[in-house]
């Protein structure tokens, strides 16, 4: 997998890479390819951290991904923005959980459950 240099990327490029990786994750889930899922997970974490480091915490740039055509992209965008847009992100997670669109609905439901139990405190 090609290494991405997040520091040199614009915010728009980072957002595009985030969405691309989430779509690949969706396929990895379907194929039960957990090794690929993990690689993508950490790449997306790197992108999210890079956006956070940018002036004004640019994780908000992920908000438009709530309307993406892919449910995994929506899920990951909601989780990544919980700290910067808690109400909107929670509403998005609730929407996904109620949608029955598995497996993302299950993941979103468990994320909300962990927030409510105090196990997950988004930062």
């Amino acid at each position: 997998m090609k290494r991405i240099e997040t520091k040199a990327m614009s915010v728009d490029q980072l957002v595009a890479h985030f969405a691309e990786n989430a779509m690949d994750q969706d396929e990895a889930i379907l194929k039960d390819d957990n090794a690929k899922f993990r690689r993508l997970f950490w790449k997306m974490d790197e992108i999210t951290n890079e956006l956070m480091r940018r002036p004004g915490d640019q994780r908000t740039a992920l908000l438009p991904l709530y309307h993406h055509q892919n449910m995994q992209v929506r899920l990951k965008a909601a989780i990544a923005t919980l700290a910067v847009a808690p109400q909107a992100a929670r509403a998005m997670l609730e929407n996904i959980a109620a949608s029955g669109w598995q497996p993302q609905a299950g993941d979103a439901g468990m994320t909300l459950w962990n927030i409510d139990r105090g196990i997950f405190k988004p930062t």
């Binding site: 949608s99 669109w101 497996p103 609905a105 993941d107 459950w113 196990i119 997950f120 988004p122």
Partner: protein, 285 residues
């Protein structure tokens, strides 16, 4: 009795047929129908025609289907992508497009998903003509088909043509159970636990508290394989939940749920296991 006007007859014919009869026609390669095609007629169809009138099933289906292989379809990427689109047909066809199909139930549609709010539903997965060469490819098809059906049912997308196409794929005969089981509605814990005492194709015995990590932690075998910990659930849901347990997750501090639970007691493991069954729509809340 006066002979019915052609247009009037066409309208009445449309009423004799089940809403999804035209889907049967798509599979039937337009000209041949199966011997049991009569089942696509409404049981009370005779009440709509003159006594003694016995039209052929094929003509009825053709009338209803208005089938044309070159009829345009909504382009891929559109929320209605892949569906047949109008080319000025009869008004009866317009109504049928929104009619619920065999396993579609508008009442089950949640508020948060649909043509306007949810992601567009892609085309159904292509059904391989023969069993795929590897188990992984076969399972990927099962999952894609099961998920597409579940999503289509939620959004009210017609599924009849896809179901009929699966029926025609002989290699799927027994394994179709995997796809069908995935469509089960959530059940009570008692129902799932009672079912665990017998086996059924398409279902797996699932340990609410994962067995291998619990065993590695030295937990009692009577707890691990006890009746409280065993449930029979759709195999594809079992894989979905097991997959979730093994993947890193932000809400467990970037650990996988399995890693997070490593130092937790039986109670916490059971809580997480039960909640996952609820969120993946196997267990009733």
């Amino acid at each position: 009795m006066a002979k019915l006007h052609h247009a009037c007859l066409a309208k009445h014919r449309a009423r004799w047929l089940r809403p999804n009869a035209h889907l049967f026609m798509r599979l039937a390669a337009h000209r041949s129908v199966r011997p049991d095609a009569q089942r696509w007629l409404r049981p009370d169809w005779k009440s709509y025609v003159q006594p003694g009138y016995e039209p052929s099933v094929l003509s009825l289906l053709e009338e209803k289907a208005n089938f044309n292989p070159s009829q345009p379809r909504v382009p891929k990427g559109n929320p209605d992508g892949g569906q047949w689109t109008s080319e000025g047909g009869e008004d009866a066809d317009e109504g049928d497009r929104d009619a619920p199909t065999d396993i579609s139930d508008a009442a089950r549609r949640p508020s948060g998903i649909g043509h306007n709010e949810g992601p567009p539903l892609n085309e159904p997965p292509e059904i391989p003509k023969r069993r795929p060469p590897t188990a992984q490819e076969t399972n990927t098809f099962f999952k894609a088909a099961a998920q597409w059906l579940a999503r289509a049912t939620r959004t009210g997308t017609p599924v009849g043509a896809f179901l009929a196409a699966m029926e025609a794929a002989s290699w799927l005969d027994t394994d179709r159970a995997f796809i069908d089981a995935y469509q089960d509605p959530p059940k009570t814990l008692e129902e799932l636990q009672q079912a665990a005492s017998s086996r059924k194709w398409g279902y797996h015995t699932h340990h609410i508290v994962e067995q291998t990590p619990a065993r590695m932690r030295g937990m009692s075998e009577s707890l691990i394989n006890g009746p409280d910990n065993l449930v029979r659930i759709p195999a594809l849901k079992h894989w979905q939940i097991t997959g979730w347990f093994g993947r890193p997750n932000e809400s467990y501090g970037m650990l996988s749920p399995r890693e997070y639970l490593q130092d937790k007691d039986w109670g916490e493991r059971a809580r997480v296991g039960r909640e996952a069954l609820i969120k993946y729509e196997v267990l009733k809340p």
